[in-house]
C-alpha cells in the first residue's frame, strides 16, 4: 500500500542519524519532527536564526519573538542558541547541517530541485530560504508524492518548473517508493504498494535497484 504523509515522515525520521543537525522545510517536512525517537539527539535548525528548536508552542507558551521559518510559534530546548540571519544562512551555505528535508514540485534524475515556483507567469514569486536550503546541507532529502494530481510524475528526466537548485538532491521519499539519486543514476531503495516494474513503466527516468 502507498504511504501516508505520516508514514513518509516516519521513514525520513528513521534515516536521520543520531545527533544530526537538521533543517526541516516548511510544510510536510515539519512532520518528521514528530517521528524522531526519544533520545535521537537530533538538533533542529530554523533558518530565521536558532538551533535546537523545540516543538510548536502550546497556548500560553506562544511568544511572538520565538517562531520557526513558517512564522509559527515554537519553543526552545535546553542547549539552544540564537543567531542573526547572516550567521544562520552562513551556517547552512557552509555545509554545516547534516540533513535538510524539503518538499518539491519536481526532482530530476540528476538531483535538480524545483520547489519554489510553478512557472505560472501570473504568480507572485517568493523564494525565502528555499535556494539556500537546497544547496546547503551535507544531505538533501525530498519528501513528495511521486505523481502530481494530474497523474504526471514528479521525478522527471529534467525539471520543467523553474529550478531551486542544480544537482542538489540526494534522496527522494515518496508515497510509492524511495530513491537514491546517485552519480550512476536513480536507485530504487524501497517500493510501497507498487512493483519495481510498474514503477519503471510509469516513470520517464531510468531506474536501477
Amino acid at each position: 500500500m502507498s504511504l501516508s504523509k505520516q508514514e513518509m515522515a516516519a521513514l525520513v525520521a528513521r534515516d536521520i542519524p543520531h545527533g544530526a543537525y537538521v533543517n526541516l522545510g516548511i510544510g510536510q517536512p515539519t512532520l518528521v519532527a514528530d517521528h524522531l525517537p526519544e533520545g535521537s539527539g537530533v538538533v533542529l535548525h530554523t533558518e530565521n536564526g536558532m538551533l535546537n528548536m523545540g516543538p510548536a508552542a502550546q497556548g500560553d507558551e506562544a511568544d511572538q519573538d520565538l517562531t520557526n521559518a513558517g512564522k509559527q510559534p515554537v519553543t526552545e530546548l535546553p542547549g539552544s542558541s540564537y543567531f542573526d540571519s547572516a550567521a544562520s544562512f552562513a551556517m547552512m551555505r557552509g555545509g554545516h547541517l547534516d540533513v535538510c528535508v524539503l518538499g518539491a514540485f519536481q526532482v530530476s534524475a540528476s538531483g535538480d530541485l524545483a520547489n519554489w515556483h510553478t512557472g505560472d507567469p501570473d504568480a507572485i514569486p517568493a523564494v525565502g530560504g528555499a535556494m539556500d536550503l537546497a544547496i546547503g546541507a551535507k544531505s538533501v532529502f525530498v519528501m513528495m508524492t511521486l505523481f502530481a494530481k494530474d497523474g504526471s510524475p514528479k521525478l522527471v528526466p529534467a525539471c520543467t518548473y523553474p529550478l531551486t537548485g542544480v544537482g542538489c538532491v540526494d534522496r527522494v521519499y515518496t508515497d510509492l517508493a524511495t530513491f537514491d539519486l546517485t552519480a550512476d543514476g536513480v536507485v530504487v531503495r524501497e517500493t510501497f504498494g507498487i512493483s519495481y516494474d510498474e514503477l519503471a513503466e510509469r516513470l520517464d527516468v531510468p531506474l536501477s535497484r
Binding site: T46, E47, N48, G49, M50, D63, Q64, D65, L66, T67, K71, E76, Y82, F83, D84, S85, A86, S88, F89, A90, M92, R93, D112, H117, D122, A123, I124, P125, A126, V127, G128, G129, A130, M131, D132, I135, G136, P162, L163, T164, G165, V166
Partner: protein
C-alpha cells in the same frame, strides 16, 4: 559617532529623504520595527526602496507604507504571503518593482555592504532564474554566482534592549535581520523595549556594538 537616544519615534526617523533605500528588520512580526514604520509613514518620505525579508502583511506597517504609494521598489525574499494583498495588488498592477533575492543572499549582501566586501561568489541560486544575467564562476569544482552588496541609507530595526551608548541585545528569533542591517546602513535607527544605563549590558553579550547604532527610541 555616539548614538542619540530619541524621545519619540517621530524624532528617530526625522530626515529620511525621498528616494532613500530603507532596510527594514524583522521576520514576520518578530523583530519588526512597527512603531518606526508608522513614524516613517507620518514622516512622508517617498520614492523609497525597501529592503526587508517580506513585503508587508495585512493593512498595517510595511503594507500601509506600500498602500500609500511611497515605495518604488521592494528587495525581498518572500513577498507572497496569505495576507500580502497590498503588495500583491501593486505588483499585479505594475506599480511596484520587485527584486527577489534568496534569503541567504539577501542577508549576505547586506553583510558584505557592512563589511566592506566589494562582491562575493555565492553558491545559492546558481542555475536558477534568480541568477540569470549574473556572472558565474567555477571555483574548486563548484559553480558560484557573483553577488553585490546591498547598502541602505537608513536601517529601521527592532531590538530588545539598548544602553545609552547604543549597544543592542535582541530577544530570541527576533534577532534575525537586525544585526546585519545595523552594519549596512548609513543611519541606523533601533526601536527597543528598554533603554538601560551604560554599563548595564554585559559586554560579552552585546550583539550589535554601539558603533553601528545612530538613534535609539524606546517604544
Amino acid at each position: 559617532m555616539s548614538a542619540t537616544i530619541c524621545a519619540t519615534a517621530e524624532e528617530a526617523v526625522a530626515g529620511i529623504e525621498d528616494g532613500s533605500t530603507v532596510l527594514v528588520g524583522g521576520f514576520g512580526l518578530a523583530g519588526m520595527p512597527v512603531q518606526l514604520i508608522d513614524a516613517l509613514i507620518d514622516q512622508g518620505a517617498t520614492d523609497l526602496t525597501v529592503v526587508s525579508n517580506n513585503a508587508g502583511n495585512g493593512d498595517t506597517g510595511l503594507a500601509a507604507l506600500l498602500a500609500r504609494g511611497r515605495v518604488r521598489k521592494v528587495i525581498c525574499s518572500f513577498p507572497r504571503q496569505h495576507d500580502s494583498w497590498v503588495f500583491d495588488g501593486l505588483y499585479r498592477d505594475g506599480r511596484i518593482e520587485l527584486e527577489l533575492v534568496p534569503q541567504g543572499n539577501l542577508a549576505e549582501r547586506m553583510r558584505a555592504a557592512g563589511a566592506g566586501i566589494g562582491a562575493f561568489f555565492s553558491p545559492t541560486g546558481v542555475g536558477t532564474p534568480l541568477a540569470e544575467g549574473k556572472e558565474t564562476r567555477e571555483i574548486d569544482g563548484r559553480t558560484y554566482v557573483l553577488e553585490h552588496p546591498i547598502k541602505g541609507d537608513v536601517a529601521l530595526i527592532g531590538a530588545h534592549r539598548a544602553d545609552r551608548m547604543g549597544n543592542l541585545v535582541y530577544r530570541r528569533t527576533a534577532r534575525n535581520f537586525g544585526p546585519v542591517m545595523a552594519t549596512a546602513a548609513t543611519t541606523v535607527v533601533a526601536q527597543v523595549t528598554e533603554v538601560v544605563d551604560v554599563g548595564d549590558l554585559d559586554p560579552e553579550t552585546v550583539v550589535t556594538p554601539s558603533i553601528f547604532v545612530d538613534r535609539v527610541v524606546r517604544v
